[in-house]
Each structure stands twice: as structure tokens, then as C-alpha cells.
């Protein structure tokens, strides 16, 4: 029996989605033709011309920015998760750290960048602490929230079934139950890290995508600015997709509607 070959028949959803992006690009073209290249450069100028210009440093810039973001974000997230769990484990730790976290939370992390520059100088290492700090605060708060939101029913059920050791309850009930919540916090921390990396690079870096943007701005080279923004978005999108993939793998057993 011959196997049937399926033709690619797009669903309405795909048609609409595809056409909306195409329309957006067309609109972009039209607007760019109607205004000077200083204000709205055409897509061709942004991607092709800028790439020609920056070809040499694009790779290094992307790596530079990515390095900052990933290291800062990972360290901050791990520290934050550990701190969050520690705070829920032990009352004393919680009582001590709670006001500290609540005090640090409303501070906009971007506002801290000049402080770190003052402390550490304009070099590479002054940008990492800010990203670590911001990721830490975000993840601590979301971890605490997630732990608080574990339905008491679960814990009581575990106790009924014989789990008396607090460590056991933590390992088998709480940690798996908070994974969705933590991943949510991780997404927010990732987005914040990119924001911070952009700001930190604007305020005087020598490398990275932000450097490309600031350089382009100095010469009023709008193509370069938009190109840089595009690179940032690309990185952020890839990171987001990676986190979502991770999310699906880890949380495959959770009962949630498709995000």
C-alpha cells in the first residue's frame, strides 16, 4: 500500500500570520521611501548596508553582549533560586532576608549602573554585577512567590502519606511544584538582563551590540542603530525560545494550558 504524500496546505492561522509580517515589512518600505534615510531607513539599508559596514565586528559584538548577559543571568538566577529556597526553608533566614529583599526590590536596576561604574570603573567587570543583581532579585521574589503558592493540600497530603522529614517534603513536593513559577521568573530575569546589558553598554562600553548602536548614533547612521536593535531583539528572542523549550521539557507533566 503506497504511503500518501501530504501537500503543504497552510492553515488560516499561518496565512494570517505570514501576511501580517509581510504587510508590516511593506509598510516599512513605504514609510522609508517617504522619509529621509535619517529618520526611517529602508529595510534593505538597515540589513544589507549595515551588515557590510559592521561585518568585521558583528560576531565579536554579539558574543560580547551574550557573554555578559548569560553569565550575569545564570549566576544571578542560581543565587536567587538558592536564596529563595533557603528563605522558605528556615524562618530565621527569612526574617533576616525579607526586609533586605524588599528594600532591594523597588530599586530600578538600571539606576544602579552608574554606582557600579563608580565603584568598579568603566571596564568589563562593572556590567556583570548589575545583571547578576537584577536577576538575583527577580528570581528570589518569584521563587518565594512560587513556594508560597504551593497548595497546602499537596503538603498535607504528603504528610498524610508519611512524609515527615522536611527535607523530603521539599525535595519531592515543593521543588517540582514550583518549577513553572521559577521558569516564569527566569523569563522575566532574562528580559531584564537584556535591558540592563543594553543600558550598560550604552553608558560607555568598548564592545558589544550597544557599542555598535552608540557608534552609529554618533555618526547619525540610523541604519546602524536599527541594525543594532534588531541584533538585540534576535538575541532576546533566541534566549526566550531556549527558555521556553527548556520549560516544556522540564514541565511536561504540569497541567497547564498552552502558553
Amino acid at each position: 500500500m503506497k504511503a500518501k504524500k501530504y501537500k503543504f496546505i497552510p492553515t488560516l492561522k499561518q496565512i494570517l500570520g505570514f501576511s501580517s509580517i509581510t504587510t508590516a515589512i511593506l509598510l516599512w518600505y513605504i514609510i522609508s521611501m517617504a522619509s529621509s534615510p535619517l529618520f526611517v531607513p529602508s529595510p534593505k539599508e538597515v540589513f544589507i548596508d549595515s551588515y557590510q559596514l559592521y561585518k568585521g565586528i558583528v560576531g565579536m559584538s554579539i558574543l560580547s553582549t551574550l557573554y555578559r548577559v548569560i553569565i550575569g543571568f545564570t549566576v544571578g538566577t542560581i543565587l536567587g533560586a538558592v536564596a529563595g529556597i533557603a528563605m522558605s526553608w528556615n524562618k530565621i533566614i527569612r526574617w533576616i532576608m525579607d526586609p533586605i529583599v524588599e528594600f532591594l526590590r523597588p530599586l530600578p536596576a538600571i539606576a544602579l549602573i552608574p554606582l557600579f561604574i563608580l565603584w568598579i570603573g568603566l571596564g568589563e567587570s562593572s556590567r556583570l554585577p548589575v545583571i547578576i543583581f537584577a536577576s538575583f532579585v527577580v528570581v528570589v521574589v518569584s521563587t518565594r512567590e512560587a513556594i508560597k503558592n504551593v497548595p497546602n493540600v499537596y503538603i498535607n497530603a504528603a504528610k498524610t502519606l508519611g512524609a515527615s522529614n522536611k527535607g523530603l517534603i521539599f525535595k519531592t513536593i515543593i521543588i517540582p511544584a514550583i518549577t513553572p513559577g521559577i521558569i516564569g521568573g527566569i523569563k522575566i530575569a532574562a528580559a531584564a538582563s537584556f535591558d540592563l546589558a543594553a543600558a550598560a553598554e550604552f553608558i560607555g562600553a568598548q564592545r558589544g551590540i550597544g557599542y555598535i548602536i552608540i557608534n552609529a548614533k554618533k555618526f547619525l547612521y540610523t541604519n546602524g542603530i536599527v541594525f543594532g536593535i534588531f541584533l538585540f531583539s534576535l538575541l532576546a528572542m533566541v534566549t526566550n525560545l531556549a527558555i521556553r523549550y527548556f520549560d516544556r521539557r522540564v514541565n511536561i507533566w504540569t497541567e497547564r494550558e498552552k502558553a
Binding site: 523597588p106 538600571i110 539606576a111 528572542m237
Partner: protein, 267 residues
């Protein structure tokens, strides 16, 4: 429950409560004391004492300048926040009206979502210059993107049961369903998203003021950094934090008032 163990329960609760408050206050005081301690050992460039931060900032900048900066920043933040949130909310509602409309806009939103708003600041400066309009528009744009996503998510998460129940009870016109079911049920989630948006707005304002401003709190921070006035930098950061906290409390208060009817555990 007999009276003896009930009393014990209350007592245990009170003791815990007081203990917690005591340690809370103690750790805040501890922080301040640690701050004082470190500031005595390091040069004032690195960490001025808490007192020095306020006194020296006041003496260098003068009260009126400080207040002016604060008001400038607040104005930008609130203007941008209000414009961005309202427009974002409206767009979010409009997009969720119809499955087909939703399918059309979804890729655009997914493309717009990961853009770090801070990265767009130089573009806005190029377009709008260093004036108020650019900054307000930037903050508005940031809040706009967040609100669209948040509103859209909130509307999607309305339990279908509610809609079907409304239809069973006779609501046929979509606008009526929207007005009486969807809008009220998303209010908690929207306000929750609003708190995040508010915090983000403060960040965007700081970034915008760092990169191109002649006035405002962020400008004060940048100027202080250039003159190595650490106390000015720390002062600006603390004021930002206090303002953000205050606005957050305000939103939480509004949340409690508006959503008094919702069944939620107290935050």
C-alpha cells in the same frame, strides 16, 4: 477546640508575629549599621555614610533643585505610564476581540515582545531629540508593549466556563459579554501586570535620563557620577527606589479597592 489550646494557639501566633517584626526591624537597622560601619572604613568616594548621602546632596544641589529633578522624572514616568498603559490596554482588548484578528497580530506581537526597550532609546533620541516628548514617548512605548501582552494573556485566561455560562443565561451580543464578564474578570491580572509595568517604567525613565537628558533624577545621578559625587548617585538611587515603592503601594491600594470582590488570598 477547647479553650486552653485555643489560647495557646493565639499566644503562639502573637509570639511569632512579634518575633518576626522584631527581626525585620532589627535587620533593617542592621543594614543601616553595616552601611555606617563600612562607610567609616572606606573612602567617601566609595561609600559615604547614610547621613552624608542626604546632607551632602542637599548642600551641593540645594533643596529646590532636588525637588525639581524629582518632579521632572515623576512627570515623565506618570505621563508615559498612563498613556502607554491605556493605549496598550485598548490594543490588547481590540486584538483579543476575534480569533482571526488575534491570529493576524500574533506574530507581530511576538516579534515586538523581546525587543529590549532600552535598546530603542538611541533611536528615539535621534527621532525626537533630547526633550520631554521623546522620553515620555519612550516610557509610553515600553508600557504599551507590556500592556498589550499582559492584557492579551489575561483575556485568553478567562475561564471558558464563564463565557458559556453567560451565553446560557442569554447574553448573545459580544460587546455585552465583554463588558460584563471579561473586563471584570481580568481586572486582578491586569493590575498585577500593572505593578510590573510600573517598575519597568521607572527603569526606562532612569535609562532614558542617563542617555540624554538635561533634567530629572537620572540626570542628577549621571552628573553626580561625573563629579565623583557618590553621595549624589546613592541619593538618586534611593529616591528612585522610594518613588517606585510608593507608586507600587498606591497600585496595591487601588488593587484592594477595585478588586475587593475577588476571591484571592491576601497579598
Amino acid at each position: 477546640m477547647d479553650r486552653i489550646s485555643f489560647k495557646k494557639l493565639i499566644k503562639k501566633f502573637k509570639v511569632n508575629f512579634i518575633n518576626e517584626r522584631v527581626i525585620n526591624i532589627a535587620s533593617v537597622l542592621g543594614l543601616i549599621i553595616i552601611w555606617y560601619g563600612i562607610s567609616m572604613f572606606v573612602k567617601p568616594i566609595f561609600l559615604p555614610s547614610p547621613l552624608a548621602v542626604f546632607i551632602r546632596t542637599y548642600s551641593v544641589y540645594g533643596g529646590s533643585e532636588i525637588i525639581q529633578s524629582i518632579l521632572n522624572s515623576l512627570l515623565r514616568i506618570f505621563a508615559g505610564l498612563i498613556i502607554g498603559s491605556i493605549v496598550g490596554f485598548s490594543f490588547g482588548v481590540a486584538i483579543s476581540w476575534n480569533k482571526k484578528i488575534e491570529w493576524w497580530f500574533e506574530p507581530l506581537i511576538e516579534l515586538l515582545r523581546p525587543v529590549p526597550i532600552v535598546a530603542v532609546i538611541p533611536l528615539f533620541i535621534l527621532w525626537f531629540g533630547l526633550g520631554e516628548v521623546g522620553k515620555i514617548l519612550l516610557i509610553a512605548f515600553g508600557c504599551f508593549v507590556r500592556q498589550i501582552v499582559s492584557t492579551h494573556e489575561a483575556i485568553k485566561n478567562v475561564p471558558t466556563v464563564y463565557l458559556k455560562a453567560a451565553q446560557t443565561l442569554g447574553a448573545t451580543r459580544k460587546s455585552k459579554i465583554f463588558g460584563t464578564i471579561i473586563i471584570p474578570s481580568i481586572t486582578p491580572e491586569i493590575i498585577g501586570g500593572l505593578r510590573v509595568t510600573v517598575a519597568a517604567a521607572f527603569g526606562y525613565c532612569a535609562a532614558a535620563e542617563f542617555l540624554g537628558a538635561q533634567s530629572g533624577l537620572g540626570y542628577m545621578i549621571i552628573v553626580s557620577r561625573r563629579y565623583l559625587y557618590t553621595f549624589g548617585v546613592i541619593f538618586g538611587i534611593i529616591v528612585f527606589g522610594i518613588l517606585a515603592l510608593g507608586t507600587d503601594y498606591f497600585v496595591r491600594y487601588a488593587d484592594r479597592k477595585i478588586n475587593a470582590w475577588t476571591e484571592r488570598e491576601s497579598k
